[in-house]
């Protein structure tokens, strides 16, 4: 498998570490359902057989965290984004919808 790090270019699998589902969002610790939310967030996974948005870490490269969209049945990588950009976009989106 090869993953195109937005910073470093295409690199082999052995430079990266997989680190789980990128679709789950860390809940608010102060919410009334915080305990349930954290249980769901930490332990429950959709684990779908097709496209999967997931976190990877360019461990032997630039240390960027990446959001990789990959088909887990074929291993075909559809897109690679910087986790920071994705997270910032999500935060500003929730801020926008809140305001």
């Amino acid at each position: 498998m090869r993953i195109a790090c937005p910073h470093c270019g295409e690199r082999s699998l052995d430079e990266f570490l997989y680190s789980g589902d990128a679709t789950v969002k860390r809940p608010d610790f102060a919410g009334t359902t915080a305990m349930d939310d954290f249980v769901t967030y930490t332990f429950e996974r959709t684990n779908p057989p097709g496209p999967h948005r997931e976190l990877w870490y360019h461990a032997a490269g630039c240390h960027a965290w990446l959001v990789v969209t990959r088909n887990v049945s074929t291993h075909a990588v559809a897109s690679v984004e910087l986790a920071r950009d994705v997270a910032l976009a999500a935060k500003s989106a929730t801020k926008d919808s809140a305001s």
Binding site: H7, C8, E15, G61, C62
Partner: protein
């Protein structure tokens, strides 16, 4: 106090580099380095400050530029290493801290990493035995930088010239293992070792 002056020592326990036109290696252990990382939202200000102070345009991604005796090597997102030859004469950390106050965090890395220089007509073949990236001139040239690994040792690799000459910077504690791999990989191209 003078008799107590501390003298630096090599990171290599066992260093017998090849030295042929096909392949030569040398260690550069007298460099001074500092890393600097842009503060959030200050990337542009940092670029301008470096350009003003050193006349260097910081490479946006994996690249290396030289200006005023300092090499600026991309070392990760919004992060660079400044490297200079002048052992002792220049405290890069202090210098950059002063020039980049409020726009970047600066950390002395002079001793974190050791740099090994590898050159010669066989340099590419030897590196191919450890480095899993494409070093063909069309893909990697003087000024190119890659953060990658060689034979299980993390390195920052850059090309210096078309000889070709490369330099690999690795964390100091790994230097000896890196050298061991390098000498074994080079054995095919180098006659009896000294």
């Amino acid at each position: 106090m003078a008799d107590h002056i501390l003298t630096p020592s090599s990171a290599f326990m066992d260093w017998h580099p090849p030295a042929t036109p096909k392949l030569a290696a040398s260690a550069r252990e007298t460099l001074t380095m500092a890393s600097f990382a842009a503060a959030r939202g200050k990337e542009q200000a940092l670029r301008e400050a470096i350009s003003a102070a050193y006349g260097a345009v910081l490479p946006k991604s994996a690249g290396r530029v030289e200006a005023g005796g300092i090499a600026f090597v991309w070392a990760g997102p919004d992060q660079w290493l400044a490297i200079t030859e002048h052992e002792g004469a220049r405290d890069l950390e202090a210098e950059l801290k002063e020039k980049l106050t409020g726009i970047a965090s600066v950390v002395d890395q002079s001793d974190s990493r050791v740099v090994v220089r590898i050159s010669g007509s066989r340099a590419r073949s030897v590196l191919a035995k450890g480095v899993p990236i494409d070093l063909h001139p069309r893909a990697f040239a003087p000024g190119s930088v890659a953060i990658t690994h060689a034979s299980h040792v993390g390195i920052i690799l850059w090309q210096v010239d078309d000889a070709p000459t490369y330099e690999a910077a690795m964390f100091r504690s790994y230097a000896d293992s890196f050298a061991h791999w390098l000498f074994e990989a080079a054995a095919e191209y180098v006659s009896a070792q000294p």
